[in-house]
């Protein structure tokens, strides 16, 4: 067990590289451990020729290694050169498996590791932390000793391994870089997710390679793969290019052969190579075993860190994507800074200082950045639980704003999913749109805007500053992070949001005291898509408010369930049974993944008792719903087929994501002449690329849902965007701004396949030139070959970025697809307005 290094850096991504280079420059004794045989595996695995972007552009790079936007190959080349130039001590093929403190046990320092089994049960394991130096155990059995450890292993994790006998043989691999490399082989692919399918198809693509490819599926369905991939795979199977073996599992592996268990017993087949694509495990378990605590049990949570990136295990530091900073520039800056900190430079100001300072520049009062951060932290109650590093990170995604008395902060019906915290002053909520003079105050320290954050719907009321006020506007993303990092903040936001929702829903006249008992008794419950919340005929007596997502109401009439209505977030249901004591008259189930607030029926009745005005309103709402239901039931008797059609069309639309849409393109195929003018107009309105595919997508009863963005209430695409380039615009549109780095995460995350990755093509000759002289490709998206040629003529091709519908924001007249349809086939609708009986049964011709 050789020397003990001052620092060991695990992982040679941009974060680890930069740290190692700094350590080398300072002359610290160090080692850089890398699992693979090359540097920076995540970037190494990017698509060939990928243009790597250097965002955010206003952040200065602070590293001994250079980085600027450019081709993947060029960047990796520079790094290889400079790491060698700095004489960094790199150890390849060194995968860290465990990190243990070898010093004394640290008194009272216990690490709790919670593991959740598939059935939802939890088990807790306690581990005593030990002081440094640390012993880093590698998978090859070697041990590396270091006083400090920097974990920079990114978030890729490790591929899940095969476990049958023979799984450790060398011809079992977990990755496939270039399918054209293999010829004349019998290859078995294990796993039918997208990766497995793509590998199998790649290997069988060219018959000249003469590979015999089979892919194993444990069951008969392909639940984890995209539909397009599955149908392509099945087509290849039918065409005899490869073989899909369903209900098959590996039993044993030996050189040249594999034994499978199938429905018809065991079989042993020829096999020269096995490629296992059975998912990968996030690195969390490994990190926790090292004694590092995470901020919460959330899947999206990050390690708990001090302002100098130190984890709860003293001497182990976490930086880069693993610490929650996925952009290369951030990673590199942190690598530099963490070594400075370890080397005792505690005065170092973070590189993002100027960015944060700029956020406070407009505020009245002379304060330093630190003072402002502390001012916000100590005054806004939900921020109280954060440390200075978290505050800085939080501030990067948030804005501090000053409003004079009377200024509007946001207006009713404006889209917006940010949360506001009041740091000083107070605001007034205009609860009655008809009479702005009726307001409810919200005091300093509290929050507002939470309904937009949680439901994804438009602002419910106009809010003004009641006096000179400083607020912090917390972006949706920062608010989500805050809730996963600080459990007390999550609880506070939840409580306030329930209270506000009750007050807002039941109108004026109620006070916080009135609803307090209900808020106490309220329970937030998550519902899966399709999960039933209220069952027709049951006699439970609770009232529900939809906090997030949406519900559909159905009733059994005759044989089949009939769709009665669609309930968006913010509506309540279940009140009928409570008020008149009857059994449930209809079934309510989640249209998409949803959250409801469950209120006990008696509490709700008490509230009605005390508030005659409220009672009156509830009765009115109830009568309205009864009338709708009765109307549809009445129609069912006389126009059964119309009602069936309505019900099935509504269900079809919900199945195709309309339930979570805010604004979606539909095409009435009773009117569509297939001219594709909608696509052409889309391309001509947006840099020459169409953001909709009219033909693709599902159709029911001539109503077609093309492949085009639904502008979801809670956009899936936003989940994992390194530069946070996906935002909600002023008209409610979900759009991608120019900071997109082209990583393709959003494309994978969108369940509706509406995002494409492409480079902006050069400008076309004008319409007049085309009409008179036939110059250029004409209206609409130019063919791929034209774009390619024109781009070559222009010189350097532009980088591929994510492209999707922005609802023609900024274009007079609104969405071009709808305006360009000559027959009225293309319409854009929102579910709450369209999923009604009148709309769905309208006679269009």
């Amino acid at each position: 067990m050789g020397e003990t290094f001052k620092v060991a850096i695990i992982g040679s991504g941009p974060a680890g590289l930069s740290a190692a280079a700094r350590a080398a420059a300072l002359g610290l004794s160090h080692v850089l451990l890398e699992k693979t045989d090359h540097l920076s595996d995540t970037i190494y695995k990017y698509q060939k020729g990928k243009h790597v972007m250097a965002t955010p552009s206003n952040l200065v790079l602070r590293s001994d290694i250079d980085f600027d936007a450019g081709k993947r190959e060029a960047i990796l080349g520079t790094w290889d050169e400079q790491i060698a130039g700095h004489k960094v001590n790199v150890k390849y093929m060194a995968e860290a498996k465990a990190i243990r403190g070898t010093g004394d046990p640290i008194p009272g320092s216990m690490q709790q590791i919670v593991t959740r089994a598939r059935d939802g049960t939890k088990s807790v394991k306690e581990v005593q932390r030990h002081a440094p130096p640390y012993a880093i155990e590698l998978t090859n059995g070697e041990v590396v000793m270091a006083e400090n450890v920097i974990l920079a292993i990114g978030t890729q994790g490790n591929p899940n391994r095969m476990r049958c006998p023979g799984a450790d043989l060398p011809h079992v691999q977990y990755q496939l870089d270039d399918p054209t490399e293999y010829v004349d082989e019998h290859i078995v692919i294990v796993g039918t997710g997208d990766a497995g399918i793509e590998n199998a198809r790649g290997l069988a693509e060219d018959p000249a390679q003469r590979n015999t490819v089979s892919i194993l599926n444990r069951g008969t369905e392909f639940p984890t793969a995209k539909a397009a991939n599955v149908s392509a795979l099945m087509a290849d199977h039918e065409a005899g290019k490869l073989m899909v073996r369903t209900e098959s599992e590996t039993k044993a592996i030996e050189p040249g052969f594999i034994t499978l268990t199938t429905r018809d017993g065991e079989i042993r087949i020829l096999c020269d190579r096995i490629i296992a694509r059975i998912g990968s495990a996030p690195p969390r378990a490994f990190v926790e075993e090292c004694g590092i605590e995470f901020t919460s049990e959330d899947r999206g949570a990050f390690p708990r860190l001090s302002p100098v990136f130190e984890s709860t295990a003293p001497g182990i530091f976490v930086i880069g994507a693993l610490a929650g900073y996925p952009l290369i520039k951030h990673c590199m800056n942190q690598g530099h800074d963490v070594i400075e900190f370890i080397n005792g430079n505690t005065d170092l100001k973070p590189a993002d200082e100027p960015i944060i300072a700029a956020k406070f520049a407009e505020l009245p009062g002379q304060r330093s950045t630190e003072e402002w951060l502390e001012f916000l932290r100590s005054n806004v109650s939900i921020l109280g639980g954060m440390n200075p590093l978290q505050m800085r990170e939080f501030m990067l995604d948030s804005e501090a704003k000053f409003f004079r008395a009377g200024e509007v902060i946001f207006e009713r019906n404006a889209p917006g999913s940010s949360l506001f915290g009041i740091a000083s002053g107070s605001v007034a909520v205009e609860v009655n749109p008809a009479d702005p003079s009726i307001t409810i105050p919200i005091e300093s320290g509290s929050i507002f805007g939470e309904v937009g954050l949680i439901s994804g719907r438009r602002r419910g009321a106009t809010i003004r500053a009641a006096e000179d006020t400083i607020v912090v506007e917390i972006s949706r993303l920062a608010a989500l992070k805050l809730q996963s990092q600080v459990p007390s903040a999550k609880a506070a936001i939840q409580r306030i949001s329930i209270e506000r929702q009750l007050l807002q829903m039941f109108g004026s006249g109620l006070t916080r005291e009135d609803v307090a008992p209900l808020v106490e008794a309220a329970q937030v419950q998550e519902k899966r898509a399709g999960e039933v919340v209220v069952t027709e005929g049951a006699d439970d007596k609770d009232v529900f408010i939809i906090r997030r997502g949406s519900m559909i109401v159905e009733k059994q009439i005759g044989e089949r369930p009939v769709f009665l209505s669609y309930l968006p977030a913010g509506s309540y249901f279940g009140e009928m049974a409570v008020i008149d004591g009857s059994a449930r008259t209809a079934t309510v189930k989640a249209a998409i993944k949803a959250e409801v607030i469950r209120l006990p029926g008696e509490g709700f009745l008490d509230l009605l008792e005390k508030n005659p005005a409220l009672r009156e309103r509830a009765m009115k709402d109830m009568a309205g719903r009864r009338a709708t239901n009765a109307f549809i039931e009445g129609q069912k008797d006389s126009f059964s087929s119309v009602v069936d059609m309505y019900s099935q069309t509504a269900q079809f639309l919900v199945d195709n994501g309309i339930g979570e849409a805010t604004d979606v393109l539909l095409i009435d195929e009773k009117l569509c002449i297939g001219c594709d003018n909608c696509e052409k107009a889309c391309a001509d309105s947006h840099d020459g690329l169409s953001r909709l595919d009219r033909e693709a997508g599902k159709t029911y009863a001539h109503l077609h849902v093309p492949t085009s963005c639904r502008h979801c209430e809670h956009p899936h695409c936003m989940a994992d965007c390194p530069p946070n380039a996906i935002k909600r615009g002023p008209d409610g549109e979900v759009f991608i701004d120019e900071t997109c780095i082209g990583c393709g995460n959003c494309q994978r995350n969108c369940p509706y396949g509406v995002i494409r990755m492409d480079a902006k093509p050069p400008k076309k000759p004008s319409l007049l030139q085309w009409m008179l002289f036939g110059k250029g490709p004409g209206p609409g998206e130019a063919s791929y070959s034209w774009r390619k040629k024109a781009a070559e003529k222009e010189g350097a091709a532009k980088a591929k970025q994510a492209i999707k519908c922005d609802m023609c924001s900024g274009i007079d007249g609104g969405p071009a697809c709808v305006r360009a349809c000559p027959t009225g086939a293309a319409i854009r609708v929102s579910p709450d307005k369209f999923l009604t009986f009148t709309k769905l049964t309208e006679d269009v011709e």
Partner: protein, 289 residues
């Protein structure tokens, strides 16, 4: 950003759109343009009957000039649809509204143009312009008729498949056929190969429009000619049938699309001819004045 919401005025506009008048161009705004066109035609007829035109009603009286001017302006405006259709920005207009107006105002030209002639028909450039106009209108009427009736069958024939998917399906069948046909004898194999080599798009104009191509369809021919007791046929035969069904779908798609488009290939050139004839008509009228 959240603060300036609604400030753009688009929210109201968007809400109206989402409330969506989900109706066809013919019904657009409760037949607004039909009413306008009827009014225009009614007024023209009333004027024709009430105004005493001297020496006799024709294009040369002041009333005739008025109708002629209206007609020319209408025709020029109607022709602009071709530009409008391809130039979506700038402007907050909708092509559906334009098409609606185009159809109804275009029809009103029958009345206006006819009254303008004063029923004086002859073998001259004036009558040529008139006849061309009627032909453009006649093709337009055909267009509206197919727009109203064919889309539903286009949709039904498509069965949620895109054009690319249909061709992919054909290629997949062909790949299976290729291996299935291996055991066949030379003659039969040639029939199958001929079927596979036939370009699904080479149908000829008539074939494309009528959907009757079995005369030249090699797949169909192979199915009738192959002897079904030969070895290997139990795989080839069903595959060929599948191929024919797939071809039928593709051809159905081509046929309906062609019926929806073919008239434009008359409507547009005739429009150009009409404008040329109209120019000659106007110049000659002023020349001989």
């Amino acid at each position: 950003m959240a603060t300036k919401a609604g400030g753009t005025g688009r929210f109201t506009q968007d809400e109206k759109r989402r409330d969506s008048d989900h109706v066809s161009f013919l019904k657009h705004r409760s037949f607004r343009w039909l009413w306008i066109a009827l009014l225009l035609s009614g007024a023209a007829i009333a004027g024709y009957l009430m105004i005493d035109q001297q020496p006799r009603p024709n294009g040369g009286t002041w009333y005739g000039y008025t109708l002629g001017t209206i007609g020319v302006l209408l025709i020029l405006w109607l022709s602009l649809l071709g530009v409008r259709k391809r130039r979506i920005n700038p402007g907050a207009w909708s092509l559906k509204a334009w098409t609606s107006a185009h159809v109804y105002l275009g029809l009103s030209l029958i009345v206006i143009g006819t009254l303008h002639t004063g029923f004086q028909i002859g073998w001259n450039v004036h009558t040529l312009a008139y006849v061309l106009m009627l032909l453009v209108i006649a093709t337009g009427i055909y267009g509206v008729a197919v727009y109203a009736t064919l889309p539903a069958s286009l949709s039904a024939n498509r069965k949620e498949m895109t054009r690319a998917q249909m061709l992919d399906a054909l290629t997949a069948i062909d790949r299976q056929l290729e291996s299935a046909a291996q055991p066949l004898g030379r003659e039969d194999a040639d029939l199958v190969i001929a079927a596979m080599n036939q370009d699904p798009f080479s149908l000829g104009v008539i074939g494309r429009l009528t959907g009757n191509f079995y005369g030249s369809c090699r797949t169909h021919y192979a199915l009738t000619e192959l002897e079904d007791d030969e070895p290997g046929m139990e795989r080839v035969y069903p595959l060929l049938e599948k191929r024919l069904a797939q071809l039928d779908q593709i051809r159905g798609q081509l046929r309906i699309r062609a019926l929806l488009e073919v008239w434009l290939f008359v409507h547009i050139p005739l429009t150009i001819a009409l404008i040329a004839a109209l120019t000659a008509h106007v110049i000659s009228v002023f020349y001989y004045w």
